[in-house]
C-alpha cells in the first residue's frame, strides 16, 4: 500500500510539475486496475489542487479530469456527488482552470449513477459561471457534448429547468462559428424541438440563434480532415428550422426574403427548406404568408434560368398545396385551399390561352404542381382549367397551337394520381377529351398525332375513365394510322400506344385490330406489271412492317398472344410455300416480332405451351422443309434457308427456352436433340418428312442447307436454365465437334462451335469435362499446327468459342487456350483474326454465353483476364517482329476497350506508352479502336494521362488529318474531351490546338466539320471570361 502511495505521488508529481502528459494515462490505468481509488488520487492531488498558482491548480484538475475521462464508469453515486460539487465550485476559479474543469464535468455527465438533481445543478452552474463563446474551440465542444450527454439520459430533469434550459443553450451557442461545433449545436437544437422541451418565451431567440446561419454558405477547405460537408450542415440546420410549426411565423418571412437573393444555391436551399417545413404546418401557420410565398414561387418558375430551381419551386408549390389540403374546414373560417388556388389560377390560367408565348409552359407546370398535391386540389384546378383548354383547342386552327394545348392537357392528366376506388377527376370531361384526342388523331400533322397517342395512353391509364366504346373507337383510329401513316415517328408512337392500350383492354384488340392486320399482311401488292410497281411495293412493304411490329407490341396479355402468334407463323409458312410473296426482310421482321413477344409475355403455363408446343415445332418444321428442298432446287428457293432468317429464328427459340416454363423447355430440348441426332420428326406438325434425315452428318456434295440448321439446335440447348438437363450430352458433343472441325460452310461450323461451347460452359466441373476439353484441344492444335490444313479456320473458330466458354466460368484449362491464342498473333494467316478474337473474348455475345441464357458467367472475368494476360501481351509486343506489332496493339486495344472504366483508369498508367504507340501505328483499325478506348477515359482523366499530355495532344492532332473519316471524327472528339481537363494543364496547348483545329473546319465531310466546330468552340471558351 505504501509502495502504491509513493507510486501515485510520483505520478502526480511528474504530471503536475514535470508536465509529462503521458502520466495521466498511467494513473488512469492504475485506477482502472484497482491499484488505488479516485479518493486516494484526490488526496494525492491535495497540494496541487490547493496551490496558490492557478497553473498548478489547472494541471492538478487536468490530471483528475483525464483520469475521470477513462474511469467514469467505475464511480459510485457518492463519489460522483462529491466530484460534481468540487467541479461546480472550480468553475468560479481562475479562467485557466476552466478548460480542465469542463473536461471533468463532461466525463461526469456520462456517468450512469448521476445523483438526482445533479444534472440541473451542473447546468445552472455552467450557464451562470461560463461564457461559452469566450472559450476555445475544444472547450465549446465540451459544453455542447455535456448538453448532448445529459439530454440523452436526464431528459425529465432537464425539462424541469423549464425555459431556462433553452435560454442557457441559446446563450451558449450564440455566435458559434466553427462548423464542427455548429453540427453539435444544431443537434442539440433539433433535440430541444423534437423532444418537446419547453421553449417558453424563447421561441424566437432559439429561431434567431440558429436561423442566422441560413442559408448555409460553407465550403470545406481542400483536404479537410473533418469531412464535414456543406450538405451535412444544410440538412442539420434544415431539420432545426423546419422542426416545429412554432417557427413558421419566423421562417416563412425569412424564406421569402432569401428567395430574393441572387445566389442560386441560396434560392435552392430556401425552396427545399420551404418544402420540408410545410409538411408539418397547418393552414393557419401559413395563412398570412401565402401571398408572399406565391409571388416568390411564381417568379422563380416564370423567370428561372435553372432547371434545378424550377423543379424545387414546383415541389414547394406541391407541398404548400398539400399542406392546405390537409386543413379541416369549419363553418366560420374561409377555405384556405380554394383561396390559395384562386390566387394561382388568377396568375396562371390566362397564360394557357397564349399557346405560342413563353409563359404557357411555366404556367402549366405551376398549375400541374398544385394539381398533383391532393384530390381536392386536382378537382379545383381541373374544373377551372380543362373547359378553357378544350375550348381553346377547338377554336384554334394552327397545328402548333393545338399541339401545345394537347401537351398541356396530357401533363394535367399525368399529374393527377389515380386511386383504385375513386372515380377519375376527368370523368366530367371524358366526352370532350375523347373528341379532342380523336380529332387530333385524324389530323395530318404528325407531331399532333404523336401527342394525341400519348394523351390517349394517359387517358387509358386513368382507371375506369374510358368506356368500351371509346376503346373501340381508339382501336379504329390506331388501325387506320398503322395502315396509312407513312411517317416513322408517328407509326412508332402508334405502335407504342397500341401496346399500352392492349395491356389494359385486350378484348378490342383481339376482335378488331388483329384480324384487320392479318388481312392487310396477307394481301398481295397490286398488279405486278404495273408501272407504279416500285413505289407501291415499297409502301406495301412499309405497311407490312408496321403491322408485324404492332402484332408484337399488343401481345402482352396471354389472350392476345394466342391470337397474334398464329398470324406471325402463317407469315413464315406462306413465305416458305410461296402462297403469298414475302420478302426476306419481312420474314425476318416476323421472327423479330415472335422474339419480342417471347421476351415480354407473362411466363404462364398457357403462354409456355403456346411457344413450346406450337411456335417452336412450327419453326423447326418450316426450317426443315425449306432445308430439304435444298439450296440448289430449281425455281425459287425458300427464304427460310437464308442465313438472316435462320439467325432471326434462333433468338425466338432461345428466348422461349430460357424464360418460359423450364419443364416444357426441357421437353423441347430433348425433342430437338432427337431430331438432330436421330432424325426423329414425330413432334413436328405437317409431318411428311423422309425417314433418313441426318442433320449433323456431312452432307452430300457439301450441301449446307441442312447442316446450317444446327444454329436452331444451338438456340434451344444452349439457353436452358442450368437445372434442366440436356439428354445424350456426350453423343451430342462428339457430333458437334466433328461438324465444327470438318464442315466448310461458315454458318454451319461457327454455329456448331458455338453450340459446343455453350454446352461446355454449363457442364459440371470434373474429370469428364477436363478430358473432353483436352481431347478437343489436341485436335484443334494439330489442325492449327499444320500450315497446310484446309480446316485451320474451322479449328480456330472452335478454339475461340471454347476459350470464351471457359474464360467466363474461370476454368483452369483456359490458360492453355490463351497461350495458343497468343502464339497465333505471330501467325502469318491467322494473326489478324487472332487479334480480333480478343474482341470476341471480351464482349458479351448476343445469342449464347450470356446471362439471359443462364450461362455460367463469373463477375469481373474481364478484369481477371486482363490482369493475367496484359504482361504477356506487352512482352509479346516487344519481342515481335515489326510487321506483326499491329496485331498486338489491336489485341490490346480490343481488351482495354471492354474493361470497365474504373479498371481502365487504374491500369492505364502501365499501358499508356503502348496505347500512345498504337495511336501512331499506321493501321486505321488499330487507331480507331485505340481512340475509342481512350475517349471514355478522357472524361475523367487519371494523373498519368495528364503527365503525357504533350505526347497525347501531338498524336491526336496528327490524326485529325487521317484519310479515314471515322478516325478524324473520333480524334476530334478526344481533343474536345481534353478541353475539360484541369484548366491549368491544358491552357498551354490552347493556341496550338485552336490553330490545328482551323483546318478541319474546312473538311470535305460535314460530320467531321461538326466535331471540329464543337471541339474548337470549347477550346475557345477555355480560360476566357464567362467560358467555364
Amino acid at each position: 500500500m505504501a509502495a502504491d502511495g509513493t507510486l501515485m505521488l510520483s505520478l502526480v508529481e511528474e504530471f503536475v510539475s514535470g508536465l509529462q502528459d503521458s502520466k495521466a494515462k498511467e494513473a488512469a490505468t492504475c485506477v482502472k486496475d484497482g491499484q488505488f481509488t479516485i479518493l486516494q488520487l484526490v488526496e494525492a492531488l491535495g497540494l496541487s489542487l490547493t496551490s496558490s498558482q492557478p497553473h498548478t491548480r489547472a494541471r492538478g484538475v487536468q490530471l483528475l479530469s483525464e483520469v475521470l475521462h477513462d474511469c467514469y464508469g467505475g464511480l459510485t453515486e457518492r463519489e460522483v456527488e462529491v466530484l460534481i460539487a468540487f467541479y461546480e465550485n472550480r468553475l468560479k476559479d481562475h479562467y485557466v482552470i476552466t478548460p480542465p474543469v469542463l473536461q471533468g464535468l463532461r466525463a461526469l455527465t456520462k456517468c450512469t449513477v448521476l445523483p438526482p438533481g445533479s444534472a440541473v445543478s451542473m447546468l445552472r452552474s455552467l450557464f451562470q459561471d461560463v461564457h461559452a463563446q469566450s472559450l476555445m474551440l475544444a472547450e465549446r465542444a465540451c459544453v455542447y457534448n455535456m448538453l448532448i450527454n445529459l439530454m440523452a439520459t436526464r431528459e425529465a430533469e432537464l425539462k424541469g429547468l423549464g425555459a431556462d434550459f433553452v435560454f442557457g443553450f441559446v446563450q451558449s451557442m450564440d455566435g458559434e462559428r466553427d462548423p464542427r461545433n455548429l453540427l453539435l449545436a444544431f443537434q442539440i437544437a433539433k433535440s430541444i424541438i423534437l423532444r418537446g422541451y419547453d421553449l417558453g418565451k424563447f421561441t424566437e431567440e432559439l429561431f434567431e440563434v440558429t436561423s442566422c446561419y441560413f442559408p448555409i454558405d460553407f465550403s470545406p477547405p481542400p483536404n479537410d480532415p473533418h469531412g464535414i460537408t456543406r450538405e451535412d450542415l444544410i440538412q442539420m440546420l434544415r431539420d432545426v428550422l423546419t422542426g416545429t410549426p412554432r417557427f413558421a411565423e419566423f421562417l416563412l418571412p425569412l424564406i421569402i426574403e432569401k428567395l430574393d437573393s441572387d445566389v442560386q444555391s441560396a434560392k435552392l436551399d430556401s425552396l427545399q427548406t420551404l418544402t420540408a417545413g410545410v409538411s408539418q404546418y397547418e393552414h393557419k401557420d401559413l395563412a398570412e404568408f401565402l401571398e408572399g410565398l406565391w409571388a416568390s414561387l411564381r417568379r422563380e418558375v416564370f423567370q428561372t434560368s435553372s432547371e434545378k430551381i424550377e423543379s424545387a419551386g414546383l415541389a414547394a408549390l406541391t407541398a404548400l398545396t398539400s399542406c392546405l389540403s390537409r386543413s379541416v374546414l369549419n363553418s366560420d373560417s374561409e377555405d384556405s385551399l380554394s383561396t390559395f388556388l384562386d390566387l394561382v389560377l388568377k396568375d396562371c390560367k390566362h397564360h394557357l390561352c397564349e399557346p405560342d408565348l413563353k409563359l404557357v409552359w411555366p404556367s402549366a407546370k405551376l398549375l400541374q404542381a398544385a394539381c398533383s398535391a391532393s384530390n381536392r386540389a386536382s378537382h379545383i384546378i381541373t374544373d377551372a382549367v380543362m373547359p378553357s383548354l378544350i375550348e381553346q383547342y377547338n377554336s384554334r386552327a394552327q397545328c402548333s397551337h393545338r399541339r401545345t394545348l394537347l401537351e398541356v392537357v396530357q401533363r394535367f392528366i399525368q399529374s393527377v394520381k389515380t386511386c383504385e376506388n375513386e372515380e377519375s377527376v376527368f370523368l366530367a370531361f371524358r366526352p370532350s377529351l375523347c373528341t379532342m384526342v380523336f380529332s387530333a388523331l385524324a389530323e395530318t400533322n404528325s407531331s399532333l398525332q404523336i401527342t394525341a397517342t400519348s394523351v390517349l395512353t394517359s387517358l387509358a391509364q386513368q382507371t375506369g375513365l374510358l368506356l368500351d366504346s371509346d376503346i373501340e373507337l381508339a382501336v379504329d383510329h390506331l388501325t387506320r394510322l398503322l395502315l396509312t401513316e407513312e411517317d416513322d415517328r408517328v407509326s412508332l408512337a402508334v405502335v407504342e400506344c397500341a401496346g399500352a392500350l392492349a395491356e389494359l383492354h385486350p378484348a378490342a384488340f383481339i376482335t378488331k385490330l388483329i384480324p384487320r392486320l392479318k388481312k392487310e399482311i396477307f394481301s398481295e401488292p397490286m398488279d405486278q406489271d404495273d408501272n407504279r410497281v416500285a413505289s407501291e411495293k415499297k409502301s406495301h412493304h412499309a405497311v407490312r412492317q408496321r403491322c408485324l411490329s404492332a402484332l408484337a407490341a399488343v401481345a402482352i396479355q396471354p389472350s392476345v398472344v394466342q391470337e397474334s402468334t398464329p398470324v406471325l407463323l402463317d407469315v413464315l409458312s406462306s413465305a416458305h410455300t410461296g402462297g403469298v410473296v414475302f420478302s426476306v426482310e419481312e420474314v425476318v421482321l416476323a421472327c423479330h416480332s415472335l422474339q419480342r413477344i417471347a421476351e415480354r409475355v407473362q411466363d404462364t403455363e398457357e403462354t409456355g405451351r403456346c411457344f413450346h408446343d406450337v411456335v417452336i415445332p412450327r419453326l423447326l418444321s418450316l426450317a426443315l422443309q425449306a432445308a430439304l428442298q435444298g439450296e440448289g432446287s430449281p425455281g425459287r428457293r425458300s427464304p427460310l434457308v437464308e442465313e438472316v432468317v435462320l439467325s432471326a429464328m434462333v433468338p425466338v427459340i432461345s428466348t422461349s427456352c430460357s424464360r418460359l416454363q423450364p419443364t416444357l423447355a426441357g421437353q423441347t430440348a430433348s425433342r430437338a436433340v432427337s431430331l438432330f441426332l436421330d432424325g426423329d420428326v414425330s413432334f413436328l406438325p405437317d409431318n411428311s418428312f423422309p425417314s433418313n434425315i441426318q442433320l449433323l452428318k456431312k452432307q452430300q456434295g457439301d450441301s449446307w442447307s441442312q447442316s446450317q440448321m444446327v444454329c436452331l439446335l444451338m438456340g434451344c440447348v444452349c439457353s436452358l436454365p442450368r437445372s434442366v438437363e440436356v439428354p445424350r450430352m456426350d453423343h451430342l458433343m462428339t457430333e458437334l465437334e466433328e461438324m465444327s472441325c470438318t464442315c466448310s460452310h461458315p454458318l454451319s461450323y461457327t454455329s456448331a462451335a458455338k453450340c459446343f461451347a455453350g454446352l461446355v460452359n454449363k457442364r459440371p466441373q470434373g474429370d469428364s469435362l477436363d478430358s473432353l476439353i483436352q481431347r478437343t484441344m489436341k485436335r484443334v492444335c494439330s489442325e492449327l499446327d499444320s500450315a497446310s490444313s484446309p480446316v485451320r479456320t474451322q479449328a480456330f473458330t472452335l478454339m475461340i468459342w471454347v476459350a470464351k466458354a471457359l474464360l467466363l466460368r474461370y476454368h483452369p484449362l483456359f490458360t492453355t487456350l490463351t497461350d495458343k491464342l497468343f502464339s497465333l498473333l505471330d501467325d502469318a494467316d491467322l494473326g489478324p483474326a487472332a487479334a480480333d478474337a480478343f474482341w470476341l473474348l471480351m464482349s458479351d455475345s448476343a445469342d449464347i454465353l450470356n446471362r439471359s441464357c443462364h450461362a455460367d458467367v463469373r463477375i469481373m472475368y474481364r478484369q481477371r483476364f486482363f490482369s493475367e494476360n496484359s504482361a504477356k501481351l506487352v512482352q509479346g509486343f516487344n519481342a515481335a517482329p515489326k510487321e506483326k506489332k499491329p496485331n498486338y496493339l489491336k489485341a490490346l486495344s480490343n481488351i482495354v476497350n471492354k474493361l470497365p472504366k474504373q479498371v481502365q483508369v487504374t491500369e492505364l498508367p502501365a499501358l499508356l506508352s503502348l496505347l500512345l504507340e498504337a495511336l501512331s501505328c499506321p493501321d486505321q483499325g488499330v487507331q480507331l479502336s485505340t481512340l475509342s478506348c481512350l475517349q471514355p477515359v478522357l472524361i475523367d482523366p487519371p494523373p498519368a494521362l495528364i503527365q503525357q499530355l504533350e505526347a497525347l495532344v501531338s498524336r491526336l492532332l496528327a490524326l485529325i488529318s487521317s484519310p479515314a473519316m471515322s478516325v478524324r471524327i473520333t480524334s476530334l472528339r478526344c481533343i474536345h474531351a481534353i478541353s475539360r481537363f484541369p484548366e491549368h494543364e491544358v491552357l498551354p496547348f490552347r493556341a496550338r490546338v485552336l490553330r490545328a483545329l482551323a483546318r478541319p473546319l474546312d473538311d470535305r465531310k460535314r460530320l467531321v466539320r461538326r466535331e471540329a466546330v464543337q471541339a474548337r468552340a470549347e477550346w475557345f471558351l477555355l480560360g476566357s471570361p464567362g467560358g467555364s
Binding site: 423567370q303 474548337r1016 467560358g1027
Partner: protein, 160 residues
C-alpha cells in the same frame, strides 16, 4: 436574371425548334464532298442562347433558316437576325454573338456579314454599322465583361 428585376420582354413568343439534321447516306460516304450549306450555317447559330431568357435564338425566332445566305464556292455568308422587339437593347450583343460564333466555326476564307432584318429595329443602321466594323468588333472582344456575356451565350446548356 435574379430577384425582382423585370425583363424587357417577359413573355415572348416561343417557336418550335427544328429537329436535328437528318443523316443521309452521302454524309457517311467518304468519297462525297459535302458543301457548306444553309442548314449547316443555321445549325451553327440556332442554339446560341438569348442573353435574357433561357431560350435559344431559334426558339425566339431571332434567327431563321430562310434568313441565312451562303455561297461556299465564293466563301460568302450573310445572316439577317430579327430582335424580338424593336427597342431591344440586346440587339448588338446578339449580333456580336452570332458573328463570334461564325468566326470561330467557319474556315477563315469566309467573309461574314451579320445584320438586322431590315425594318425590325429602331436603331438598325447603327447596330449594322457596329457589326460590320472589324475594328470595333475586335475592340469589343477585348472588353472582358462583354466577352464574358458573349461566351455565356455561346456556352452550350447554360444554368447550374
Amino acid at each position: 436574371m435574379s430577384g425582382g428585376t423585370q425583363l424587357e420582354n417577359a413573355n415572348p413568343m416561343v417557336f418550335q425548334r427544328s429537329g436535328d439534321r437528318l443523316l443521309t447516306a452521302n454524309d457517311e460516304d467518304e468519297d462525297v464532298h459535302d458543301p457548306i450549306d444553309h442548314r449547316e450555317i443555321f445549325d451553327l447559330i440556332r442554339s446560341i442562347s438569348d442573353p435574357e431568357h433561357p431560350l435559344s435564338l431559334e426558339e425566339l425566332n431571332v434567327v431563321e433558316q430562310v434568313r441565312v445566305k451562303v455561297n461556299d464556292a465564293e466563301s460568302m455568308v450573310g445572316i439577317e437576325f430579327t430582335p424580338t422587339i424593336p427597342h431591344c437593347s440586346m440587339a448588338t450583343l446578339i449580333g456580336l454573338s452570332i458573328k463570334v460564333k461564325l468566326l470561330r466555326s467557319l474556315p477563315d476564307r469566309f467573309k461574314i456579314d451579320v445584320h438586322i432584318t431590315p425594318g425590325t429595329h429602331a436603331s438598325e443602321e447603327a447596330v449594322n454599322k457596329q457589326l460590320a466594323d472589324k475594328e470595333r468588333v475586335a475592340a469589343a472582344l477585348e472588353n472582358s465583361s462583354l466577352l464574358e456575356v458573349v461566351n455565356q451565350c455561346l456556352t452550350p446548356n447554360r444554368g447550374i
